[in-house]
């Protein structure tokens, strides 16, 4: 599996330098700032998007679930990281890869940025299939760009996606464990005229 994983990364990364404009696009897509902000904004937009009271409360509860899933994903990925400690591709195959991104110091599996992206995309998907698919595409692009840059294996990306989706499903159950705290929080924000 590691060999197939490494071959895919080396083949993809080997394409770098062929089309400079595409390389630059991947550098921006892989950035720590663009895609994470896109996912944060998608939750912010969802909060304000409801067109009637019932839709609004549903969107706002889903937004809170999405944000919670994002936070829990970070913890779960960290637990995987310290348990498995898989080295990054550029550490194991540095001579065969052209590093296009700074060299992260944390372990590779599962991909944390992909995990949180998929958790948020799943939250959006439960509200609006089309919007959710766009966010899944953005999450996939985020993962692809990091793989192209030589800092993740394909299985890190798939693992991150599975963790993110699973954590969102788990969070929806967690909500039942914490009600009426969540609904009361939304009610408080409505008391401040922001929900």
């Amino acid at each position: 599996m590691t060999s197939i994983d490494a071959n895919i990364v080396m083949w993809l990364n080997g394409l770098s330098g062929t089309i400079p404009a595409f390389d630059n696009l991947m550098r921006i897509a892989a950035s720590d700032y663009l895609m994470p902000l896109v996912f944060s904004l998608s939750m912010l937009g969802l909060w304000f998007s409801g067109k009637n009271p019932a839709q609004r409360i549903r969107y706002q509860l889903t937004t809170l679930m999405g944000i919670s899933a994002l936070s829990i994903s970070n913890i779960v990925v960290w637990l995987f990281n310290i348990t498995i400690e898989r080295p990054r591709p550029f550490v194991e195959h540095g001579d065969e890869l052209t590093l296009m991104f700074y060299s992260p110091t944390d372990p590779s599996f599962p991909a944390n940025p992909v995990s949180v992206s998929f958790a948020v995309a799943t939250a959006a998907w439960t509200i609006n299939r089309k919007f959710g698919l766009w966010l899944y595409a953005a999450a996939a692009l985020f993962g692809f760009s990091r793989m192209y840059a030589g800092i993740f294996y394909p299985t890190d990306i798939v693992g991150g996606a599975v963790v993110g989706i699973s954590i969102y499903v788990f969070t929806t159950y967690l909500r039942r464990f914490l009600e009426p705290l969540i609904t009361s929080f939304v009610r408080l924000i409505r008391g401040l005229s922001a929900a």
Binding site: D32, L44, F48, P53, R176, P180, T183, S184, G191, S193
Partner: protein
Amino acid sequence: MNTDPGVVRDLFAGHYLLFAFLTSLGTIQIAVSNAGTRGLWLTPHATMTRWLGIALILTAIAIFFMQPLWVDGPWAAGSVEADSLTRDWGKASWDELAGARNVNDIHGGLDGVKQAGWFSLAAITAFAVSAIAGTLSIKILNTVQPKSYDEQNTGPQDGLVGLANRSYLSVQPESWRNFKTDIGDLWHKGIREADSWNLIKSIWGRSSK
């Protein structure tokens, strides 16, 4: 990195806050123009508000990623390599612009927790600016307000529902009053209806009976 990470972090924080604020403001404007929440519109017209929102987002992205061209930072021309270990301080060149912002958090880039903090501040500020602009638009420009879907319903006119046709300042007292009236019932009803294994029920269940 040939520069103090603390200096780089401060620079990134300022840039990121502006980036997050403008994109949050743009996103709120697009969302509230679609939802008909007039009390948060930056302009009196839905279409104009929506296009303004899109323009704010695109402008913010362009500013954030092109700022290294005119602002000194850890991206001096000729020193921008993939790894952020050996960057020099200065202005970036066009050729290296795409990778200029990719700075490891141990070299002064913003980690996820710091981004979350700055983003929350930016989003709250964007909401406050929207509320002030919406209030000015409704109070001073006295914009015409046709009845929205929300207003045709008979439910309480507080929160975002109330902002469909009123300013933040006129809705806020009613929102807070309704919150104080409702929250007790909402809490007790929630605990009554919760599953037996619910954490909140196990803590507060007995006292709420």
